[in-house]
Symmetry: C2
Subunit: 303 residues, 2 copies
Amino acid sequence: MIDRLMNRIEKLANPTVVGLDPTYEMMPQTIREEMIERYGKTTEAVGKMFLRFNQEIINHIMDLVPAVKLQIAMYEKYGIEGLTAYTQTISYAKAMGLLVIGDIKRGDIASTAAAYAAHLGGVEIEGLRLDPWNEDAVTLNPYMGFDGIEPFLSPCNQYDKSIFILVKTSNPSGKEIQDLIADGRPVYAHTAQLVSKWGELAMGINGYSRVAAVVGATYQEQGLELRKKMPHTFFLIPGYGAQGASGDDIRGYFDRDGRGCIVNSSRGIIAAYQKDGKCGAHHFAEEAREAVLAMKCDLGGIS
Amino acid sequence: MIDRLMNRIEKLANPTVVGLDPTYEMMPQTIREEMIERYGKTTEAVGKMFLRFNQEIINHIMDLVPAVKLQIAMYEKYGIEGLTAYTQTISYAKAMGLLVIGDIKRGDIASTAAAYAAHLGGVEIEGLRLDPWNEDAVTLNPYMGFDGIEPFLSPCNQYDKSIFILVKTSNPSGKEIQDLIADGRPVYAHTAQLVSKWGELAMGINGYSRVAAVVGATYQEQGLELRKKMPHTFFLIPGYGAQGASGDDIRGYFDRDGRGCIVNSSRGIIAAYQKDGKCGAHHFAEEAREAVLAMKCDLGGIS
């Protein structure tokens, strides 16, 4: 998936991934009213809202960006019906030619991680293989070590999928554990070293591993340092836009050829219509497209 | 929930939580055949198998144990239909008077954690409150710090729910990050200190906080040390039985009154029929009951 992602980034000259992280508050009034009328005040209504909203956004950005990232929590919040919108959005995005990253941040002991690995590898029922989730890549949490990562390597290599492991997150309190100094360097540097090492087990063909990393845009020095120490690790960069970082802030996260990263923006794109309100809620998807073009321009000098 | 849990442990004289972590391989042949016949080779069939299996187990253990723990990965593996079995099992267990821990190990930045907090606090749709998950407690991952924890405190206090934060996990590679030495002590000790501190924000009435910890049974020295340092933190102890630890190994995890812990066993109970096979698969639930009684006996000297 890393190779396919890099090819699409190059073709579109755009290392942007759009975060499809809908909230109830983001739903335009017309969509909200229609679904409440049809499905009542139910989680099903919210799931239908999210799906419609996402489909409209996808229709307006699919020719501009290589991938979308879905924060599963936004869907999981609404239970089974929310997660149904998650899987339906994935199917729709893939049908439109987009790569899909599931931002699931799972992490557990070996046998449990093997179950979560079904996100990438599917399941087999009496010899029949099914793919109930079918993301191209997922994010993972490293706190439990390699046990929680290893079961994902086989689907990465077998089906050309990828995993993005949290190394340095963009949130303020990420430092409470990640920045503890152990043996003269912070915990996230140890995590980075582990991720690099694990990455050797799943190399792609363009010089980057299918084992990738999440490195927040909000800590530039650390980003630069990690790029140097992880020359074969592709970065997913959250924290652009709504969380404060700009294109200039993350220039050094890319390699010398302007490759090696994809930059996420969620609210900054999908809720752009709520920010400036130029065209009103009816045009939320057009506003998202405008926001993608502006972000592409901001990142344009890089790749 | 911690207070209700402690009361039930005392009443039943049993600090056992049964892990309802079904796998396809655990399903007795009769259940497997019936569901495949009715639903085909589908994830729906597997969901129906898991629900039937869990209901039978619950029927045979509900008078013996205070709580069940569901490892959500085992259900998530089978997509929406698997997760439907997860929520249906929760409803059934609660209707039978059991407390339910959702072993979800989520962890993310603040706005995302707020979405995950719906597991405990439910959602509101146009003024109507719904509870699509409805666990009594969930497990959480601390790698992203307090941002990822804080949104759960309000439902803990408002609805008397609990969270169990990973401190020291039972798996071999847990040590890769958790045992790094920072400022003269391991990362898990820092996590323990954070969990203690966060716990002050959600104290129960029996001397323990609603912010609890996961401390693996497989590292006894660390368990003893953590009990001393965390006098107000309730422990969920995985790693008993199938992962190797016995009642003697975890004696020191309890406080002087024999309180402060609940011990999980999953495979050792629900797949007991596959281990000795005395009665055959038709009696898997009776075998689970026998395994619970044996575990109660093993832990009996403690509480």
